[in-house]
Every structure is written in structure tokens, then in C-alpha cells.
Symmetry: C2
Subunit: 362 residues, 2 copies
């Protein structure tokens, strides 16, 4: 299989063995925040205000093969397409079913989605960013457990613009040193801007590094985002029944820190699945965050867009975008379900086909 193991090799291999040839359910968890609209933070939308439409459009793409809430597909300010294109291609190749969970979005997607009682998030500089955290976690637990009974395992991804900044917020509040370690959709990671935003948020919440270590619900409520309680609950509930692949980059480490505080036993059944662009990124350190508090393995899909005929895809190799909409985890699941028959070359061909069709290049 075209994957790379980034840490905890034996645990990673055991996890891969457990999911081989199994039938997963992919759950896409979406949310939006005002944090995501701070200029310079996120490339998940053509401009900051447009980030409200990125998550709904991403999940429409997953379920319908095209978007309804916007024309075309979500793009970066440079016109580079959403990583949802990778996810869609991987899930389609391996015929993996999808369920969408609304952690809290401003613009509702025009497809079926699960409501877990969450709302769109505020700017974390207020120190009061997310509503209903405990209730959303409880409802998502119920959903995660039920869905894990229907599938052999769960793959749970996210689409939330600005999510690495809120991840830094929660990690910092939880006493995990993540400054300079969270990833970015931009090749040049605006670490200083993120650190300053988190500093303001914690100050507004009258907190400092590690102050909410024993209260992850407060950490999310103060400086987190609405994807986190939904995703944490889904993982905790799902891991009661079977393996869970958390499909995402450094954002997942913030969720891991929350799970570690709420239900550490869940982590035995969990791996993070991401892309090589995240694990090999020189400007972030996913494994360096995780090893501060747990031994969850990180597995990377060995995606390589270097050979692509399309400049819009080749640019992924420069570090733009890197991950999102569970692209890495979905790719790993597609490879595992097909016993390796889906290779990175086959996946790239399918991505190129969908890219050309959606960008109307042919």
C-alpha cells in the first residue's frame, strides 16, 4: 500500500492490518467560524467571506460529485481546487459510503446532513467561540456509536476554514506546546499571526497556557471551533465499537487532546490518517504535537501530484493546501479497502479525471 508511517510504527502497522479489506463509513464533519475569516489565515476559499461556503460545497461534492451552494468547486485565492477533490476521487474508486455531520455551519449544505445541535463559531479573539460544547459531544457520541455498528470502521474527516488556528488555541489551552507546529493551507505558514490570535483569545478568556488542561469543554468553548466537539464525540462513540481513522492533519491533534482528557481509553482504537504533504512539512510538526500526550499512530497517504499533467494539481507539491476534507484518510481507506489495488497512480488518474471535469478543462 502507498502509505508512510510517521510515528509509532508497530501501532500503525497493527491499525493498517485491522482495516485491510474492511468496509468503512466516511463521516465528513463540517463547521465554519468567524476566526476563519481573519485575513491571511486560511486558503480554504477564494476570499475570507467565501469561507462560509467552502464546507457545505465540499460535502456536496462528496455526495453528489458536484457542488450546489457555489458554482464550480471551492478554490484557494490562487484558484487551486479543494482537497475534497482527492476525497471524492478516493471514496468513489473504493465505493465508500459517506455521512455528513454538521458541527456548526452558517450556510447549510444542500444535501442530507446530521444535526448534532451545534452552531457556527465566533472569532476566538473573543475568548468565547463555541456554543453547546458538552451537548454536541454527547449527541455525537451517540451517533458515532450507532454508525460504528453499521460499518467495519469509521473514517472521520473535517472541513473547516481556519481550523489550524483554533487547533493551536485548544492545544495551548490544554497545555500542549504547539506554537510553530500546526500546519497551514498556505506554503508560508503564518505562525506568528496564529500565535497572536490565540494569545488574544486566551487573554479574553482570562486563561493562559495549560489553564484548561482539566476542562477540555471549556477549552473548546473559549478558543476552539464547532468541528471539535462533533468530531471528538464521534471518535469516542465510534471507538467503543471498532477502529476509527481520524482523517486530517494537525487539527486532529487538538481533537486528540480533548479525547485524551475526556475518554483516554478511546485512543487505543484510533489512528490519524493524513497526507505526506502534512507529515513531511518542514513548517509544522504533527508527530511532535502528538507525542507530548499520547501514542496515537500517524499514517500518511503517499500522494504524489508531481507527475500530474495539470499545473493546478502539481502545485500541491509546493505545500499549498496539503490536506482537508479527510483527503489523506480517505485515500488510505480506499487503498486499504481494495487491498492495495487502488495505488497512488490510479488515484491520481481519477483525481485528474474529476479535476478536468469539474474545472471544465476538457
Amino acid at each position: 500500500m502507498d502509505v508512510q508511517i510517521a510515528n509509532n510504527e508497530l501501532k500503525a502497522k497493527a491499525f493498517l492490518q485491522e482495516i485491510e479489506s474492511k468496509n468503512p463509513l466516511f463521516i465528513a464533519t463540517i463547521a465554519t467560524t468567524e476566526t476563519g475569516k481573519i485575513p491571511g489565515l486560511s486558503a480554504a476559499g477564494a476570499n475570507p467571506d467565501f469561507t462560509d461556503f467552502t464546507p457545505p460545497a465540499d460535502v456536496e461534492l462528496l455526495l453528489l460529485g458536484k457542488c450546489r451552494s457555489i458554482q464550480g468547486v471551492p478554490i484557494t485565492p490562487d484558484g487551486i481546487p479543494t482537497p475534497g477533490l482527492i476525497t471524492t476521487s478516493a471514496l468513489h474508486l473504493a465505493d465508500i459510503p459517506v455521512l455528513v455531520v454538521n458541527g456548526g455551519v452558517k450556510v447549510k449544505p444542500q444535501i442530507p446532513f446530521v444535526d448534532v445541535g451545534g452552531n457556527s463559531g465566533r472569532d476566538i479573539r473573543t475568548g468565547d467561540s463555541v456554543d453547546n460544547v458538552a451537548e454536541v459531544i454527547e449527541r455525537a457520541k451517540v451517533l458515532g456509536e450507532q454508525m460504528a455498528k453499521t460499518a467495519d470502521y469509521l473514517v472521520i474527516g473535517e472541513s473547516i476554514p481556519g481550523g489550524t488556528t483554533t487547533a493551536l488555541g485548544v492545544l495551548t489551552a490544554m497545555g500542549v506546546n504547539a506554537e510553530g507546529k500546526v500546519s497551514s493551507t498556505f506554503p508560508q505558514n503564518p505562525h506568528n499571526q496564529k500565535i497572536e490570535i490565540v494569545r488574544q483569545g486566551l487573554k479574553a478568556a482570562e486563561a493562559r497556557f495549560g489553564n484548561f488542561k482539566g476542562d477540555p469543554i471549556k477549552a473548546i468553548a473559549a478558543v476552539g471551533d464547532p468541528m471539535m466537539p462533533a468530531l471528538a464525540g464521534l471518535v469516542i462513540g465510534g471507538a467503543r465499537q471498532g477502529p476509527v481513522l481520524m482523517a486530517g492533519g494537525t487539527q486532529m491533534t487538538a481533537v486528540l487532546s480533548v479525547i485524551n482528557a475526556l475518554a483516554p481509553e478511546a485512543l487505543c482504537n484510533v489512528a490519524v490518517g493524513t497526507t505526506r504533504w502534512v507529515t513531511q512539512d518542514k513548517m509544522s510538526d504533527i508527530c511532535g504535537i502528538i507525542r507530548q500526550f499520547c501514542q496515537v499512530p500517524v499514517i500518511a497517504a503517499d500522494l504524489d501530484f508531481g507527475p500530474s499533467q495539470y499545473p493546478g494539481l502539481r502545485i500541491y507539491e509546493t505545500g499549498l493546501v496539503k490536506e482537508g476534507v479527510g483527503a489523506g484518510g480517505a485515500s488510505i481507506a480506499a487503498m486499504a479497502k481494495t487491498g492495495g489495488a487502488v495505488t497512488k497512480e490510479i488515484l491520481l488518474k481519477e483525481i485528474e479525471r474529476n479535476y478536468a471535469q469539474l474545472m471544465k478543462l476538457k
Copy 2:
């Protein structure tokens, strides 16, 4: 297995064979309407205004084993508990997972539920009772198809007070003779009242018997309810992937008439699963409705509450309640999943246990 076949014996046997020892997903579809509040129509609530709380409370019971939106459990005006108690017991015995779909309710359940774009229904006497019918059908199709990929088959039930009157409405609009044939939660079926309400609704929609035969979407929009488009879409989408057991009584015949007009090929993969109290009811005729337009088999769980130690359960044998929240279909699925190990006696014991606990009898 403790089931009875009510019609189309060979098809029914083939269906039962197909689901034996298989793992289903139970989908509970909920909705409420102003029609359900017309006095004398429905026993699905202690009083008419209370019917808004019955569907959310029913699905809370399924997922949590207790209700959150109300104290205790939904009851009839006489204090008889919801058939959701049967469903909960059956699903629990066979460890069958549950997903809740909101067709359109006024009071949102306090558990995770799927939004398919529907709203609560108006009184059908307006001749304009349901919004977004076509859109809800499309979204539910997408969901049904995805969920059918995760499970071996789908069992799809409903909770909607007043649903047999709207069923009569749609069947009449579709040119199916159902007067005096739809069931009732009351032992004395108020057929004349239902017929008069439907007559008024059709008149307000400027329509007569069979006028919407070619336009089931208009039939639902005029004199139907919001459970119907959600359930029809789920069945159509689900049947593309595998068997679908429609879990309910005569309300399901209205949904069948809609599916028959929209996607008749889906019906090859469909059976109706209900209770003996419905199929043996002298005051309704589920098979007589179905045979007018299709050959879908009807299978009844051979439930028998006669031996119960509780008067509140024995009264089911007098024809009160009869069916609801997919009680019959869930019972059949529990028996089938366990290869008959769940018998009607074992099921009754579990129902009595839950009944005593929820009604605080012990």
C-alpha cells in the same frame, strides 16, 4: 421465526430468506402535522397538542433508552405506552443500530438526526400541506443509497401522529381506493371523519379521486405529510443497493403508491413489515390497498401481548395502537438477525422489562 405472511407468499419468503442472519440499519423517520391535531384522529399523544412531542420523544427513546423532550414516554389518551417501546426492545435485543431522519417536525429531538430539508406539515384541509416535496425526496434518495452501502439492508420506520389520515389523502389522490381501509391507533377506527377530512383537502386543492395519479409530488404537497417524501426517497435510494423493509402499517401503502409512480423498479427490493395487529385488523385492509397497484409482500411480526402480566401491554390485544415507530418491522429484523433466536416470548419479556422500568412500575 415468529412471523406471519399476509400476501404474496413466495415473494415474502424470498425476502425473509434474503435478510436472514444479516445486519440491518434501522432508520426512524419522524414528522408532525397540524392534521394530527384534529381532535379524534390520533391516539399518538395524551392529547392533540401533545402530538408535536410524540415523534421526537419516540426517537429519543430508541437512541437513549429514555425520552428527553418529555417526562416518561409518549402515551395514548388512556395512558398506554408508545409502540416505540416494542421497537426499542427489539433493536436492543438484536443490537441493531439506529439513524433518525427528520422528515419535518415542529419540536426537534434532543439527539442526532438527519436533516433532509423538510418542514412540519400543515392541516390537509388546506389542500396545501407539505413543503419542498421534490427536494426532500432527492436528498433522502442520496442518504438512503449511502446508508444502504453500510448495512446489509435497511429497515425504515415512521413516527407521525395522524399519519393514516394523510395516507388516505395521498392514496385517494393517487387513485387508490382506501376508504375504510386505512388503520387507526384507536380500536374504533374513525373512518368517516378521515374520509371527510380528505374530501375537504382534495376540494381545497381542486382535485378528486385519482387526479394526481401521475404527479405523486403534488399529491403529497396537497394532502400528504412530511414523513412521505423522506421515506419514499430513502426507500428508492436504499433499494438501489439492497433489500428495504418498510416498517409500518397502512401509512406505508401511501408511500408505496408514491414510489410506484416515481421509481417502480425499487419495489422489487421492498417488503412491508408490520404487526399481526395490523394485518388481522377487521377495520382496515393493508393488503387490499396494496394489491390495487403492486405485489409488494406484507410480513407481520406475530406479537402476542395476551400473556403479559401488565394490563397496559395486554390492551394492545384489543386493537389499541397496533403499530408505530416501526415496531413490527424492527421485531421482524431482530428475529431475522438472530436467526429466530429472538422469539415473541423473549421479545415480550424484554418489552415488559423496559415497560416496568420506564413506567416506574417496579
